[in-house]
């Protein structure tokens, strides 16, 4: 590094708007969809038929492709790709020297982001582009311990990223101002995360423990 001051540069605010958009897409629609998705999965607890009914109902929604691309595809791609661009550009982990709790949550937010990106790609490939998707085809995959573990990790990473992302969102938009408000919001976001995680795991368990017909 030299003492040349030409290295001092201001960006023009684009970064700010992209960051805010990144934060916003994380909350809406991605977080809402995650919760919706994990809750709906739980129809598998009731019976395979209940799950199949819900799948068929969702598949028969009007303008399905339009909804999927605009509400899910584009936001997921933007949030994921922008995250993958800015993480290596800015993040320089220094946990060794500074190991307080939010430096860890910051670190895991980025690690889980990378895991989720890969997980979603595999997940969409396995289930969205499977035209004959029903309870049995999902269960056939998830009865294999290796895939059950992969989905467990996928759910864990997604829910962590969601709960910690929610905590971050509240700070980045200036809603929780100050240490006290942020501590309270950490407990609230953490509790929401634990509940959503339990919901996600219960559906996974329904598939994993189901008997082949």
């Amino acid at each position: 590094m030299s003492i040349n001051n030409n290295s001092l540069k201001a960006n023009n605010g684009t970064e700010f708007w992209l960051r805010r958009l990144h934060s916003l897409t994380g909350l809406f629609p991605l977080s809402l969809f995650l919760v919706f998705h994990l809750v709906v999965n739980n129809s598998a607890i009731k019976s395979p038929e209940a799950f199949n009914t819900v799948v068929n109902m969702l598949r028969s929604l009007p303008y399905l492709e339009l909804i999927e691309i605009s509400i899910l595809g584009i936001p997921i791609l933007f949030h994921g790709l922008y995250g993958l661009i800015i993480t290596p550009k800015f993040a320089r982990s220094n946990l060794g020297a500074y190991s307080q709790v939010h430096n860890w949550t910051y670190y895991f937010q980025r690690i889980t982001g990378i895991i989720i990106f890969i997980f979603i790609a595999v997940h969409v490939y396995q289930f969205r582009f499977n035209e004959d998707l029903d309870f049995e085809s999902v269960a056939m995959l998830l009865r294999e311990p290796i895939w059950a573990i992969a989905y467990f990790v996928g759910i864990l990473a997604s829910v962590y990223h969601f709960a910690n992302g929610l905590w971050n969102f509240l700070i980045s938009w200036g809603i929780t101002i100050g240490k006290k408000a942020q501590t309270v919001s950490a407990y609230i976001c953490g509790s929401i995360g634990l509940i959503v995680f339990a919901i996600g795991c219960s559906a996974l368990w329904a598939f994993y423990s189901s008997l082949p017909n």
């Binding site: 590094m1 030299s2 003492i3 001051n5 290295s7 001092l8 540069k9 201001a10 960006n11 023009n12 605010g13 970064e15 700010f16 960051r19 805010r20 934060s23 800015i86 550009k89 800015f90 993040a91 320089r92 982990s93 220094n94 060794g96 020297a97 500074y98 307080q100 939010h102 430096n103 949550t105 910051y106 670190y107 937010q109 905590w167 971050n168 700070i171 980045s172 938009w173 200036g174 809603i175 929780t176 101002i177 100050g178 240490k179 408000a181 942020q182």
Partner: protein
């Protein structure tokens, strides 16, 4: 600390390593030194001992290590360096509380001038980006300024403790001097000047300064607040600035900006 003055105590030595760098562009290297232990040593006194006797532990002749220091009571910020891996002021880093050999190196995120001395100019530049002043210049006398309430004074006092030392920026996993993130130090000063009734008139310009300089690059790792030696409420400052930016955004989008 007890003041044992027996023979073994007086022969005790302090081992320390200094990261040396002769010119801004040359390679850095480590040198090891030893100096007799005395009660109440701090890092500045170690460096002064190295100046009086610039000979390495192995007995090779060296040169006095360059460092910046001024007040020696943790209010000026100039002796900030990385000691045993953690950024802090050399004047208040006590030898007896540090594991040996003590490693002393310059801050890694500012350009090294020589040895332990870095160029902290970037922090003073960023204060210009956010107009960190109260606008009182005029061609005619403006009279008395508005009153500042005790509550505002108390809030402002905390932010005014900032000594521009650079600890927050050094420990931030997102900040580097050339990637367009203004960093917690200037964000807190922006909030400080927005508290003042006169300074407030520039609030929108300050917030624009923050927005144009990557305010939301902050990743909420919150190391800044953990290392700040003056306990400046950097967590509060950043979230407050984020709220001011949210309001500014709303004004821009709804067309109520200027």
């Amino acid at each position: 600390m007890d003041t044992n003055k027996n023979a073994t105590e007086s022969q005790k030595v302090v081992k320390f390593k200094i990261k040396r760098q002769i010119t801004p562009d040359s390679e850095a290297y480590w040198e090891e030194f030893e100096t007799p232990w005395k009660p109440s040593l701090n890092i500045i006194t170690l460096l002064m001992a190295q100046h009086t006797h610039p000979v390495t532990a192995a007995g090779h002749k060296s040169t006095p290590a360059t460092y910046d220091a001024n007040c020696l009571e943790e209010v000026c910020g100039s002796c900030t360096m990385v000691i045993n891996g953690r950024v802090q002021q050399a004047c208040t880093a006590l030898v007896d509380k540090l594991e040996q050999p003590i490693t002393i190196e310059p801050m890694s995120k500012f350009p090294v001038v020589r040895d332990l001395m870095v160029d902290r100019k970037r922090m003073f530049e960023s204060l210009k980006w956010i107009k960190a002043w109260n606008p009182i210049d005029n061609t005619a006398p403006l009279g008395e300024g508005p009153k500042v309430s005790p509550e505002e004074q108390e809030k402002a006092y905390n932010f005014s403790r900032c000594m521009t030392c650079g600890c927050c920026l050094e420990s931030c996993p997102q900040w580097s001097s050339d990637e367009g993130f203004i960093g917690p130090q200037a964000i807190a000063q922006s909030v400080l000047f927005n508290i003042h009734p006169t300074g407030k008139s520039l609030e929108d310009e300050r917030v624009k300064g923050l927005i144009d300089n990557g305010l939301n690059i902050c990743g909420n790792a919150q190391n800044c607040a953990a290392v700040c030696p003056k306990e400046v409420d950097l967590i509060g400052a950043i979230s407050q600035a984020n709220w001011q930016a949210t309001k500014y955004m709303a004004k821009q989008i709804l067309g109520k900006g200027h």
